[in-house]
Amino acid sequence: MSVTRRAAVAATLGLALAMSAGAQAADSIKIAFIDPLSGPFATTGESGLRSFEFAADVLVNHKGGVLGGRMFEIVPLDNKISPKESLIQLKRAISDGIQYIVQGNSSGVANALTDAVEKHNKRNPDQRMLFLNYSAVDPALTNEKCNFWHFRFDANADIKMDALTDAIAEDQGIKKVYIIGQDYSFGKAVAAAAVDMLAEKRPDIEIVGNELHPIGKVKDFTPYATKIKSSGAQAVITGNWGADMVGLGKAIIEAGVDAPIYTYYGAHDGITATFGELGEGIIRSIREGTLNPPTPEFKALNDAFKAKYPDNDINQPRIFNTIAMLAMAIEKAGTTDPVKVAYALEGMEYDTIMGGKVWMRPSDHQAIQDVHISVHTNKDIVVDADNSGYGLKDEKTVTMAGKDSPTSCEMTRPDA
């Protein structure tokens, strides 16, 4: 039975390798990446993970690490986009003595994590950790639910909406706006912010529709598109993401609505490719980090990234900011102690690779940075998305958006 012997050899070999794999550079600084790596949202999670690994290598490890040679190591932990699984993975990170966790997909998960991290730090003062949120934009995280351990590197939904409504306010041709979003906290927050800010900036604009649809359950967006079309809207605002974004966008355009669609998540991860020429000049995204025209540094970075991951894009520049600023903070604090690193992060300023600055506002741990309105097009695109030839070109930039925006955050700070 040759099969038997081969199996035995393979098994022994496997066991030996598995044991040797356990021994790694004990010196590295581990960063737990808690995001979906299986299930329907795994594409987004994987894309984020690749960016983080690439950023850690390029920005830290290839430059000799921090604190005199300590490397960053990203530890991927699959949370299946479930709060429960996230907390299990958080415990796993705690078991491994990890002091920094990063997460971005789903504000629900971020809420669960920030809450759990705060409780953990309170209950285990000798084993504290920091939560670096790179993408969850629920304003509450830096307002009523803020705490000392949470830092957000993306602009929050209100700041983005502020910039977005500025753009709409400038366009005097727009008299009717339709707001549509997914029926959950983020969709509602977007709608509420849009209504408030438009009323303030352009009282003459009529909100011809303010609609919430069930999240992830709509098979066919045509009925919504029909409504939007018959309302005579001249601009559409949506916070939709994923399949809900694609379905809504396609339906609106196909129904013959000839109005700009302002989105939060209307690009990358297959969405740009799916819109293709259909979305030309119609889909607009509100985001941080200039993709087109790129700075030479960013172009080089992007080329290196594409060489390694041809099917992915650098679609979340904030990931690079997160890694760079964490490295700076650790250097500045001279230690990996989370409390000291957190104090070092507060008020830190960083010049980004994509151009522009990031300032970590101490009062609420919200990163303040330039926010851009960019349009889906294939003209003047250097850095395209989904290898489709289409990409995002900046139309308008708000410098240091929301620098003076109010916050209700009242955090208690530990002794340094």
Partner: protein, 445 residues
């Protein structure tokens, strides 16, 4: 009718007590709780030493998760295994019990309610029960497909409502609380995971005990009878609807207890706790473990929690493996993994289990080859499907394989095909060996 008793005592000698008396005594002795008591004591002892064996935070967390799953899966089995009701919406009661528990935690924290934490899961259970009563009222009229459809509809409805009614469900971010705000119990404020583990373990044991005892009550026995033959049950005086109603409510209660345990462990409840995915997952746990046995769902809960928390860290394909496992179980082991083990009962009683040692030892080789080969093929296929330049390496069983070369594919294919063929060749031999060991005494399977 005493006349007949004397005329028919024909099995034993006349000077001893009548045969029926012995049979009745025998039944009562075997059904007595003292018989299973050692197992409960053993389980208790095992639960108490587990944190010493797995002291890491993640180990304790996974064990807590297992405990929650065990109570949830056992409550599900009150429906499917004992009552013959296939539910696609059992998470509703789990989730609602959990949501209420978190709200109560918040009342304790902010409104000064006095409630020791260990009582919280039972409050969750009562809420699960309160919600189960009206649902049971209209859904237990029939079992089978109609019941399954209603449970699906209710499940979809409640899951949808959880997003609409933000005041109770907290929308997408859910509702969170803090378990440490209640009065200390035995000096513990439940700050650490281990304290929560012991609390969970005790409640799991109590719940399991009561669910076991329920199955031995008239209501529990009739649930089995109605499952087997609802028409006959009606003609011995039982309303099938009411018998199901009682089981359904009991299942709702214990699902609520599990929800309360979840609330204590995670201090947050979200929509995912009562949606269809969770409902489907509990079906998987109970069925893979084996719905025909009391310990079946426990086995399933432990195994699937392990797959979910441990296997998922090693492969992105873990759900594919779970799916394959589930479909294979439905097709070839409808009594679950426990059924596969229990199948050997007759051989064990006949003292012929040893006869199977050699056949099984032979079978294990091609079986492992088949499993390893299949897993290798799947993992390499998965890696090859993902186009990352310079990352053509699949990591399986700690091996690093380059999927752009032919050798690993050939080896994997040889393992899989060879293993499969080997199993096919020895299948008859295995069947014969099994039949021999189980012997003629094992007339029933």
């Amino acid at each position: 009718m005493s006349a007949s008793e004397t005329t028919t005592a024909r099995v034993v000698a006349p000077d001893t007590e009548p045969a029926w008396k012995r049979v009745a005594d025998d039944q009562m002795r075997r059904g007595a709780f003292t018989r299973t008591l050692p197992m409960w004591v053993g389980a208790f002892a095992l639960l108490m030493v587990m944190p010493l064996l797995f002291p890491s935070a993640v180990g304790v967390t996974i064990m807590n998760q297992m405990g929650i799953s065990i109570v949830f899966a056992l409550s599900y089995n009150m429906l499917l295994g004992q009552g013959g009701m296939l539910s696609f919406g059992h998470a509703v009661y789990f989730g609602l019990g959990g949501f209420l528990s978190v709200h109560v935690m918040n009342y304790v924290e902010y409104d000064g309610w006095w409630l020791p934490l260990p009582l919280l899961p039972f409050l969750g259970g009562l809420f699960g029960l309160a919600f189960a009563i009206p649902i049971a009222g209209f859904s237990t009229r029939r079992a089978g497909t109609v019941f399954a459809m209603i449970s699906l509809g209710v499940g979809e409805l409640v899951a949808a409502c959880s997003i609409i009614f933000v005041a109770f469900f907290g929308g997408e971010e859910g509702v969170s609380g803090d378990r440490t705000m209640g009065p200390p119990v035995f000096g513990s404020e439940f700050l650490s995971e281990v304290e929560v583990y012991y609390l969970t373990a005790v409640i799991v044991l109590i719940s399991a005990l009561f669910m076991y005892l329920f199955s031995r009550t008239p209501a529990g026995r009739m649930a089995n009878a109605v499952r087997d033959n609802e028409e006959r049950a009606e003609f011995v005086g039982y309303s099938q609807r009411y018998v199901r109603f009682v089981s359904f409510c009991a299942a709702g209660f214990f699902a609520g207890v599990a929800g309360g345990l979840f609330a204590i462990n995670y201090e947050i409840l979200t929509e995912e706790n009562l949606n269809l995915v969770t409902s489907g997952w509990v079906l998987l746990m109970a069925f893979i473990g084996g719905v025909g046995f009391f310990i079946g769902p426990i086995v399933g809960a432990i195994l699937l929690t392990l797959l979910q928390t441990v296997l998922s860290n090693h492969t992105e394909l873990w759900q594919l493996y779970v799916g394959i496992l589930f479909v294979l179980t439905v097709m070839y082991a409808p009594r679950g993994l426990t059924g596969l083990v229990m199948m050997h009962g007759p051989a064990l009683r006949a003292g012929r289990l040893g006869m199977l040692a050699v056949p099984y030892a032979i079978a294990v080789v091609p079986l492992l080859a088949l499993l390893a080969g299949t897993a290798l093929l799947l993992e390499m296929g998965h890696t090859a499907n993902q186009s990352v330049v310079g990352e053509s390496e699949a990591h399986v069983f700690g091996l690093t394989l380059d999927v752009t070369t032919a050798l690993p594919w050939v080896v994997a294919a040889v393992l899989a095909v060879g293993g499969g063929y080997g199993l096919y060749r020895i299948a008859q031999y295995l069947r014969d060996a099994f039949a021999q060991a189980t012997g003629p005494a094992g007339g029933h399977q």
